[in-house]
Each structure stands twice: as C-alpha cells, then as structure tokens.
C-alpha cells in the first residue's frame, strides 16, 4: 500500500547513525522521567490520541443509538452517561490540551531555536497532572458513572444519586485545570525569555503568537473553573448552599461561573488550531503569509473578547433581557477577528505555489469547515433566532464544526505536517489524502444534517425520538436525518482508522524523512529529522519565518535546503 522504494538505499543509510532525541537514551524510565520537551510532547501526543480514541468510541455508541428510532443499544441512563463522558473526554482531555501540550511542546522551543522550554520540570509535572486527571475522569465509569453532561449544570449535578462519579469528574477537572495553567505559564515565559537574538516579536512564526494568546487564556481563565468545581464539591459534600436553590443557592450563578471559563476555553481550543493553519497554508503554498500583523493581533483580540461574551450561552437561563442584549452585541465582535484571519489565509494562497500534500488538504478542509462554523455562529449570536435554536441539534452541529472541524482538523493537519520531524519517517501521501477525503465527507454528512435536525426542532441530549408521547410524523422526519448523520460518522471513523494504520505503518516501514520535506522556513526545519537531543548543533538562521525564496529543492535528498548561492550566516535576516 505505502510507497516504499526498496531498490534504492534510503538517504542516510551510508552515513553512521546520528544521535537524535529518540536514541539519545533508552529504557522506559528515560521516557517517564524525561525533561526533554520533545519526549514530553510525544508522550502527550500518544496520551491525547488514546483519549481521543476513547471519546470517539463513546461518540460511535451515541450515533448507533440514534441511528434508528426506539432503543437500540443503550438504555436511557447508559446513553446519558455516554454523552457525558464523550463530552468530558473530548473537551477536558483531548481538545483543551491537544495542540499546545503535544505539538506545541514539541515544536515551540525548536521554533525559538531554544534547547527546551523555560521550566522543563514543570512541563513534566503538568503531564503527570494530565494523566492523573484522565485516570480520575475515566474511572468515574466504574464508580456509578456520571450523567450530568459535561456542563455539570446544577441543581441536577448536586441532586442526583451518582455522587461518586460527579465528585471524581469535578476533581478531574480541577486537576486538569492545573495541568493547563502550568503549560500556559511555561509557554508564556519561554516565548518572553528564550527567543534567540534577531527574533523580534514580529519575526515569530504565527503558531507561536497563537500559542502565546492561548497561554494567556489558560492562565487567566482556568482558575475560575477550578474555583467553580471546588464550590460544587463543597456543596455536594457539606450541603452548603451556593448553587442549589433548595439550600438557598442560585443555579444561574453556576452557569455564570461555568461559562466564564468555558467560553474562553473555546478559544483555548481553537486558537492553537488557527496558528497551525497559518503555518500550513504558508508553507505548503511556499508563499509569504499575508497580513502577518493582522493575523497576530487578531489572535490577541480574540483572546481579549472571549472573556466578555460568556453570557450568550445563557440567553434562556432567566438572566435579564438587558444582559442578553449586551452579550449578544459583544458576541458579534468576536466574529470580526475570525473573519479577518480567514480573509488573510485566502490572500496568502493568491499567486502561491499550492501543493496538495496531506497537511495542506487538512488546512483547506479547515477553511471550509471553519467558515461554516463561524457563519452559523451568527444564527446563534442573534437573539431572535437563538431562542428557537438554543439547546437544539443546531448548536450541536455548530460547535462540532468549530471544535472538530476547526480545532481537531487543524491538529490532525499539524500532526501530518510535523510527523516527519517528530518521527523521522514519511507516511504514505496516497493513503493520507484518501483518509482526509473520508473525514471531510463523513464529517459534513454527520454534522450538516444536524443543522437541519436542530432548526426543525430536535432538542439535544435526547436518548430517543420515539415513544408514547411522540408524534409519529416527527419521529419519521428526525429518523431520516439521524440515519444519515450516523452513516456519516461511520465514514469518518473509517478515515480515522486509516490514519492510525498508515501512521503506525510509517514508524516501521516509512521512508526516512529529510530535514525539510515541505520547504518550511521556521527554525524547526533547520534541524535534523528527528531533532538531536539539544535541538541544534549550530545556531540556526533566524529571519523572516515566511521568506521561502532562500530555499531550494534537492532531488537526491527529497527535501529543501538553504540555497547554495546564499551565504550561511547565523542571525541573518
């Protein structure tokens, strides 16, 4: 299946094996106790992808249950626990840490020409906090389960009977919050302190701007969720009235606290993805990014605006109509920087040399899917239409277009982009493109049908759409959409399994990767693939990270290198 040329010796076969971060030290403890940001990044990547697999399995259970009217494979309670765990795993274990903790950890210090992040020990600690949080969250299945939805709304979460499960999940969210905060602090300090000579703020790759804006959000917003779940636990354990009206609390207060974190969290999830897309589009069309400063500042603008729009999750919660109007108005302001980014990416393609490598196909998919997610956000930010669409499948479709079509597609694109750098191996381009196509088609079939399902009036978090109280015509109508949505999810799952297959295959049989297979100009493409333990043997050339004119293609190496007619000078522009 994969294209392996066995007749020709792979490049580097004649030269003696070079030490890299994978071979630098051996043994299981050299990984578990490592302070190397690259190894920590790889451990994060493997762990997060494992969690993604688990969350995806829960999603498949949900789609199987909803494929036909009537109870299929899950009881009502099992369904409610399945969608709760799908949400908890995907939000807290996968998407929030995804790009910064895995790819960010691996790439960020190398992009800065640094040997490591500013606080390597804190980095390892934050990984183990993630592991602790993951174990706690998933173990809730064995202690009665949780059926509150990932939003943990009170009073349902404080009055139900599944006390153990809810305490485990709240504790998990608390611990995962610290993991996120530590990663954020680490990256902020690294970017401030460890930039090499010559790399000014406006010579950083845009991925770093995105990670920087994300770091600010992680550090400033995450403590709020920590406090909120701590209060929730206090209320459950000691019966002190904070949110539960039966004890004199206010359930709407919980929603304010929850969304004050969880709305910025949406941008913790999507901003790094946007950063990846800026890299992919520029590198894979060999074209200087258009509007660098506008893209960089729009990341910061999004980070700031995202703090003051949380109330749009609560238009129907009983908060005052005036607050609804104010929140609706501010919500629209977030649309602008997102639109600016999309236009700048488009302008980058203009007069480029656009390749259709797998990473680029994901970047182009992102442009389509993110545009749909942004535009349908207008329907939900608008007061009159949100009332009808709130808590329906329209919302489910919208945030899957953002979280999955946006954040996760970008991450998968990023994995394909940096895979040669991380593993030193090339994967099958052919299978990569097929998998991307399967995911793109499957994704749209799964979730575009859900827009219609929602505007037709199907509420979310429903185990079934048939029963004594249901109108049979409605059951039949919803059934059609759900059927095709499920079919789409199977196509998408096939795509993901294909990716897992060829990526694992490439580890053992893939061609050796050159240092710079795509023609990237940022510093990580100047060190070997995989990078040596200390990243750079000689100081890298800092310059405009999007000036591709200094590179030329080397047929023998199957990669790009510095033009021979240009002089190598450390620190040159």
């Amino acid at each position: 299946m994969t294209t392996i040329d066995t007749t020709k010796p792979t490049p580097g076969a004649e030269t003696p094996p070079v030490d890299n971060y994978l071979t630098h030290s051996t043994g299981i403890m050299s990984w578990l106790g490592t302070l190397d940001h690259k190894r920590i990044g790889v451990m994060y990547l493997v762990s997060i992808l494992t969690a993604f697999f688990l969350g995806g399995m829960f999603a498949m259970l949900l789609r199987l249950e909803l494929m036909f009217p009537g109870e299929q494979i899950l009881s009502q309670d099992q369904y409610n626990m399945a969608f709760t765990l799908h949400g908890v795993i995907m939000v807290f274990l996968v998407i929030i840490p995804s790009v910064p903790a895995s790819l960010g950890n691996f790439v960020l210090p190398i992009m800065l020409g640094a040997k490591d992040v500013a606080f390597p020990r804190l980095n390892l600690f934050s990984y183990y906090l993630w592991v602790t949080g993951a174990v706690l969250a998933v173990s809730s299945i064995f202690f009665g389960g949780v059926d509150t939805g990932w939003t943990l709304y009170v009073p349902y979460s404080t009055s139900g009977t599944q006390m153990n499960g809810i305490l485990l999940v709240t504790f998990a969210v608390f611990v995962l919050g610290f993991s996120s905060i530590f990663t954020g602090i680490n990256f902020i300090v690294t970017i401030h302190r460890l930039r090499p000579p010559g790399m000014t703020w406006f010579r950083m790759p845009l991925f770093l701007w995105a990670i920087y804006a994300t770091g600010i959000l992680q550090v400033m917003a995450t403590p709020v969720i920590g406090i909120t779940v701590a209060l929730l636990a206090v209320e459950r354990l000691f019966g002190i009235g904070i949110f539960d009206p039966a004890l004199g609390g206010d359930p709407v207060l919980f929603q304010h606290f929850f969304w004050f974190y969880s709305h910025p969290a949406v941008y913790i999830m999507i901003l790094p993805g946007m950063g990846i897309i800026s890299e992919l589009i520029s590198v894979h069309s060999h074209k200087h990014i258009f509007g660098y400063k506008f893209i960089a500042f729009s990341s910061v603008a999004i980070a700031i605006f995202s703090f003051i729009v949380w109330g749009h999750h609560m238009f129907l919660s009983g908060q005052s109509p005036l607050m609804n109007v104010v929140f609706s108005a501010i919500t629209f302001s977030v649309a602008i920087p997102s639109a600016v980014k999309v236009f700048n990416w488009l302008a980058t393609l203009y007069k480029g040399s656009i390749s259709f490598n797998t990473p680029m196909l994901y970047a182009l998919s992102f442009l389509v899917l993110f545009t749909i997610s942004g535009l349908t956000g207008l329907h939900l930010g608008t007061l009159a239409t949100d009332i009808h669409l709130h808590d329906t499948y329209f919302v489910v479709a919208h945030f899957h277009y953002t979280m999955m079509g946006g954040a996760l597609i970008a991450m998968i694109g990023g994995i394909h982009h940096w895979w040669p750098k991380i593993t030193g191996r090339m994967y099958s381009e052919f299978l990569g493109r097929i998998a991307c196509g399967l995911i793109f088609i499957g994704f749209n079939l799964t979730f575009f049908t859900q827009f219609m399902l929602g505007s037709k009036g199907m509420p979310r978090r429903y185990h079934d759409y048939a029963g004594d109280n249901w109108n049979p015509t409605v059951t039949e109508l919803f059934g059609k959409y759900h059927f095709w949505s499920s079919i789409g999810s199977f196509v998408m799952a096939a795509g993901f399994f294909l990716i897992a297959f060829y990526l694992l295959h490439s580890l053992f049989r893939g061609k050796k990767a050159p240092a710079n297979p795509w023609g990237g100009r940022s510093l990580e493409w100047q060190c070997a693939s995989p990078p040596p333990h200390d990243n750079f043997s000689e100081p890298p050339h800092v310059g405009d990270p999007y000036d591709f004119t200094v590179l030329e293609w080397d047929e023998q190496e199957q990669g790009y290198h510095w033009r021979h007619d240009l002089k190598h000078e450390p620190g040159e522009a």
């Binding site: 409610n80 074209k287 919660s317 203009y350 389509v368 808590d391 329906t392 109108n471 591709f548």
Partner: protein, 364 residues
C-alpha cells in the same frame, strides 16, 4: 437584497405555514419574524460561503504547484484591503444584531391582556395549570388569536419549555420565575418539548400544544376543571387511567421495571395483602392507607426494587396537590382495581373522559 433573493427561494422556502428546508411549520405571530431573521442571516452566510470557498477553489486551481519553483512575487500586506474586509463584516453584524434585537424585544414582551397559564416542569413531565383550577399533563390547551403568557416554574432541576412551531423557548429554573408568551395564529396540534437536559427520561418529557377556537377552548378548560367531580364514584378507577399521565414516565402497568415500582406489582401486593420492602430495610403492608400515604407523602416510604436497592428518587413531593383530593382517590381506586382496567396483554384499556363523565354537553 435582490442579489440574494434567488438563494432565499432556493434554501428557505418559509413563505407558508408548512415549514420548509430549515423550519418546522409555523403557527405564531412571532414566527415569521424569527424566520425572516434566520433567512436573512442564512442568505448572508451563503453569500460569504460561496465567496470564500469559490475564491479558495479558484486559487487552488490557478496557483496549483507546478514543480519546485518558488512562488510568484506578490505583496505581503495591504492595509486598505485589511481595513475593508474588517469594516464590511462589522457593518453586516451590526445589521444582523439589530434585526435580532428587534425580534427579541417582541418575543420577550408579552402584551398586557395576555391569558396566563402556569407551566411546572418536573422529572419528567409538564403540568399546566389554568386560572380556573383546570390542570393537565403534557398537553397545553390554548386559544387561537389571543396572546398567552406562560409562567414557568421548576420543581426539581432545570427544564426548558420549547414549542418549535411557535419559535419560543424558555428555561424553567428552580427558585426563579421565568416566562414566555406567544399568540397562536391557527388551530391545530403542535409539538412541545423539554429542551434543557433533566435526567433519565428527558427524551420522553414531550407533549403537545392544542390550539382551539375561543369557544372550544373555554369548554375544554371548563371540562378539565370540573370533570372529576362529574365522574360517579363507581367509575372513579377509570378516571385514574386518564390521570395516569402523571405517573407513566416512572411507573408501568405491565410489570416491567422503570424508575419506580410497576403499578401491576403494587396491585398484586394489594390483592394478596402482601408487604413491600422499603429502602430503609423495613417492610409495609400494601393496603389502602399505604397507597394514600405514599401518594401524599412519597418521600416518607421509599420502596426498594426487586434487587433490594432503593429506587433512584422519590416522587414529586407535591403530586397530591397537582392531582387534587378526588384525583388522589381516583389513583387509589385505579391501583386497587387495576385488573379491571387492563386488557389481556396487560395494556391499559382506552378511557375517554366523555365515557365516564355524566351530565356534560358537547361544546357548541
């Protein structure tokens, strides 16, 4: 908007009341306004989607990679262009916000002369209470052409009342009072849902709105207010079948397990004079007194299931208030005489109010 009108026609055929590509049928005064806002935003969205993806596909074709040559020279920034594509979306979103605001003001401002109905959400049914004392479960009876204001309450957790055909929705929050209003524009039956996740049976917390003309509406709520009094004592157990809507999300009549004990089990225990195990380990004889006290004060005696564990939660504490004194008696009669009310397959025989109420006249 002339430019976009073909797209409107293509994707948003919401002119009539029958719904279209996006919407369910519409039957309230605010629905056309909501649909217009939706179609307007959808029109803008389609325009921008076609523009962005069209340009992308065009560039993908025109500037596809040919060999390993460096890309062509072109500017890397252009401030007037940036300002333009910042300003145009800004103007559009201000317009969209304004349209949404105008619709919202209408949707949230009930007219002075609205007819008021109280809606109470509890796990897992809606009860609707009318000013004349009438009450019904999961079915909302409303007059056509008259503004109706629904005052929402929740007894346990958060619920949300959602009527898609009216394009209205509002949370019912414990400890708070919320409201929604609508004016139905035509007679008929429309879907009604709970839209805020509320636990196990959330997907069965579903009902319907029935819109009547004014006369039929008055007659209906009159019947609902007084019908139990007009049921002769010997038929009271049949009235229980109609009131069973209050109970059906948690109690079956065929012996299969649900949230609470099946009525069949209770009935057989009553017949045989047996005892029921309680969650606290004690046991209680199932007799008429037990039935009455377990409806009036459900949390005092929580039954244990066959496996000996407590059922998940006790019944809504104020269920007796909702049923009324005679309603409670009807339920007790039903539990005691259940064998007369089920058919050979163990299903409840159909009972119509008109069959058991004496001395009612058909509404004109």
């Amino acid at each position: 908007m002339n430019l976009l009108s073909p797209m409107f026609l293509l994707l948003a055929q919401t002119g009539g009341t029958g719904g279209g590509f996006w919407f369910p049928e519409s039957a309230s005064t605010v629905a056309p306004e909501v649909d217009f806002a939706f179609d307007f935003i959808t029109g803008i969205s389609i325009f921008f989607f076609v523009l962005i993806v069209g340009v992308m596909l065009w560039f993908m074709f025109k500037y596809r990679r040919r060999g390993h040559l460096p890309s062509m020279e072109s500017p890397t920034h252009n401030t007037p262009l940036e300002i333009t594509w910042t300003a145009i979306p800004m103007i559009l979103v201000v317009l969209i916000f304004y349209i949404g605001l105008k619709g919202y003001v209408n949707i949230t401002t009930p007219p002075e002369n609205s007819y008021e109905i109280e809606a109470v959400g509890q796990q897992w049914y809606w009860s609707f209470n009318y000013p004349n004392g009438a009450t019904d479960i999961n079915i909302l009876h409303v007059p056509v052409g008259r503004p109706v204001k629904i005052n929402l309450r929740a007894n346990d957790v958060i619920h949300a009342l959602f009527i898609p055909a009216f394009r209205v929705k509002m949370d019912a929050v414990p400890g708070r009072r919320t409201e929604l209003w609508f004016e139905a524009t035509r007679e008929g039956e429309f879907e009604l849902y709970c839209a805020e996740y509320c636990g196990t049976q959330h997907s069965q917390m579903v009902g319907k709105v029935i819109v009547y003309n004014q006369f039929a509406f008055e007659a209906k709520i009159d019947e609902l207010a007084n019908w139990l009094d007009k049921v002769p004592d010997e038929d009271l157990h049949k009235a229980g079948v109609i009131l069973y809507n209050y109970c059906s999300t948690c109690h079956t009549v065929d012996g299969s397990p649900l949230i609470g004990p099946s009525f069949q089990e209770t009935h057989e225990l009553f017949k045989s004079g047996g005892t029921r195990k309680l969650a606290d380990g004690s046991a209680v004889t199932v007799n008429e007194d037990y039935l009455r006290s377990s409806i009036r004060k459900p949390s005092d005696q929580i039954a244990a299931s066959a496996q000996g564990v407590a059922y998940p939660s006790s019944m809504t504490p104020n269920i007796a208030d909702q049923l009324g004194t005679r309603g409670v008696e009807a339920m007790i009669q039903m539990l005691m005489r259940l064998d007369e009310l089920v058919d050979a397959e163990g299903k409840l025989k159909k009972v119509e109010r008109a069959d058991i109420v004496v001395g009612t006249e058909e509404p004109q």
